[in-house]
Symmetry: C2
Subunit: 367 residues, 2 copies
């Protein structure tokens, strides 16, 4: 194998694919990048078996072939070389890297041992705007479980219902449902992929309204952007996920409309008091058109008041402030509606306007 | 005690003084800030007994007095309140903080237990430009010892010799001597203060040519900028520090002039090879007008070549690459001179031009 490529182009490509390389593993080949020179292209691939990222760039290929070298070394090394032209030549079990007057020689791993990406030939396909997929991933991921006790809850359910794509995540004490309109009605279905894979993917897709084609086949999801391909294993299908629809209550005792930023800042300040404790218990006292937020610990107490729109059923309810902050942080609206189902029932955070693009559910705490 | 102050002004002041608050300590009062309201000012003070920072801002004082509250809480809290007006009122053993419609009540520590700052009345004084003190601290600190085995080596010797201020640091394998011209000849003397205190101080002094007056008295150094005062304990005097001058060799076997950035980048790349090892051994082979830099590990090897000016005594010498990178990183010059005293003797990195504003000494390693 021998090829010449531009340092800057290689740098950009390595930085992207190495997001899929394993960080610490018992199988060192998963910490590597596979380089394949063929025709007039260089293909780079990393995989940790959960997520695979493949990127193709132009190269002047003198001799076709492939090699496998540590991803972290290559990304740091190419970054530090800068924009020069770089020549790679395979010599026995090593790859020689020539740049200017200088050269490095790096031991290769056995390319045959590198996992092959899943072939996807006749997939089910649906299309979504890149910006919508990105927004959905960011807003749904706040409710994903952080521990491994139920692996399915480390995932986000991507579900199509008519012309709507839904992202659903829940961790036992809160839930997020994010909805995006699709350009056309697609066949209903639901899959679960890890939040980590979805977040890595949306970081690397365009920021704009580009249409992203999502292919599903045999436990795998694939996104093909031409020069960049993402493949991730499914954690499961809708039937494997929690039946989230039955959790949603339709009747409420109390509904309020409140300024999102004001509520967010108040909880942030109130949570500061618990700097020596694990839980950030926040008490909300809703009385008439006034919301009083209170936090009390051995160190002191904080009381904040804000004006709200309110339908007149007063309520006193306690939350873990962190859970409220997480979702208030990713919502962009100026005003939000909160529906309460009683002091020990879940609260729903929904848009104040007549749209249903997000729905958060948070369980209260015992005082 | 009762006073009213501007949130933004208080925020700036707390952020500065809390750099001197202890992070983790068995004496919680050292994690606090002392607030003193007197006349029409509020004085904030933090100290970890090594460094004290005192800052004064305007305040509308309704009742004079002082209180002591956790510095980390106050800085986070005031930052999150934003630019509003804030009223502090001492009520029994707590301080009430009023902001807009809202209020917090924070338990105070006993103000009598807060350490008093050192009184400095008849100090020895010398003046230095703020930008010079900053540059000296940044460039000398790279050679400060990182472990506690010899506490004096955690310090920087600040020495006046005629019209020159020198900062000297050394850790057993390298040394830095940074020199700055003073506006006038001062009385010769030398003191040692911790690198940490000096670095915190230079972060908070102006970036420009403002003259900083440094006062020394009875084991303490004080810098008084009017609204901000820094006080730090001396680690010792020149007599307590290593007699660094005797380490400096005056005759060399080999001298080279090399492009600083080129050498820095080459060592950075070569050091990447040792990602699984602790030491970054770099071999320099100087032959005629060529410097060949080589790094070799089980993972591979890297060879870089560069043109140098050279006085014709060839040499092969090994270094810990990290020690060279540290000083090459803080030097701004395009070209530097390196003097070698043989394969096992110290190397000196000095300016190529006819000035002596920095002098680094690095011991080589056995290959």
């Amino acid at each position: 194998m021998k090829f010449i490529c531009q340092g800057q182009e290689l740098n950009d490509a390595v930085l992207k694919v190495c997001k899929a390389a394993a960080a610490r593993t018992t199988n060192p080949i998963l910490e590597c990048v596979k380089l394949t020179a063929q025709d007039d292209t260089l293909t780079l691939m990393c995989t940790d078996l959960e997520l695979t990222i493949i990127k193709t760039i132009k190269a002047d290929v003198k001799m076709e072939g492939s090699c496998v070298i540590p991803a972290k070394f290559l990304s740091e090394f190419v970054k530090k070389i800068g924009a020069e032209q770089i020549t790679f030549t395979k010599i026995d079990n090593a790859i020689e890297i020539l740049y200017g007057e200088n050269h490095g020689l790096i031991q290769c791993q056995n390319a045959d041992e590198f996992p092959m990406p899943k072939e996807i030939n006749e997939p089910q396909v649906f299309n979504v705007k890149a910006s919508d997929l990105k927004d959905l991933a960011m807003k749904a991921s706040v409710a994903v479980a952080q521990d491994d006790s139920r692996p399915m809850l480390r995932g986000i359910l991507l579900e199509i219902v008519g012309d709507e794509l839904r992202g659903v995540a829940l961790d036992g004490v809160r839930m997020a449902i994010i909805s995006k309109k699709l350009d056309k009605v697609e066949q209903d279905f639901g899959i679960v992929i890890t939040a980590r894979a979805l977040l890595e993917i949306v970081k690397l897709i365009p920021e704009d309204d580009t249409t992203i084609s999502i292919q599903i086949q045999e436990n795998h999801l694939k996104i093909d952007l031409g020069d960049t391909i993402f493949i991730t294993r499914l954690l499961g299908y809708k039937k494997d996920f929690v039946n989230y629809e039955q959790i949603i209550q339709k009747t409420f005792k109390t509904s309020i409309v409140v300024n999102r930023e004001q509520l967010y800042n108040a909880i942030e300040r109130a949570s500061l008091l618990s700097w020596t404790e694990r839980n950030h218990i926040i008490k909300l006292n809703i009385k008439g058109n006034n919301l009083t937020l209170n936090s009390s610990t051995d160190q002191g107490n904080i009381t904040e008041n804000m004006q709200i729109e309110h339908d007149n059923n007063d309520i006193v309810i306690h939350f873990n402030g962190r859970f409220l902050i997480d979702c208030l942080h990713v919502i962009g609206d100026e005003f939000i509606k909160i529906n309460f189902c009683g002091e020990m029932g879940p609260a729903q955070i929904v848009p104040n306007e007549d749209k249903n693009d997000y729905f958060y559910l948070v369980l209260p705490m015992r005082p």
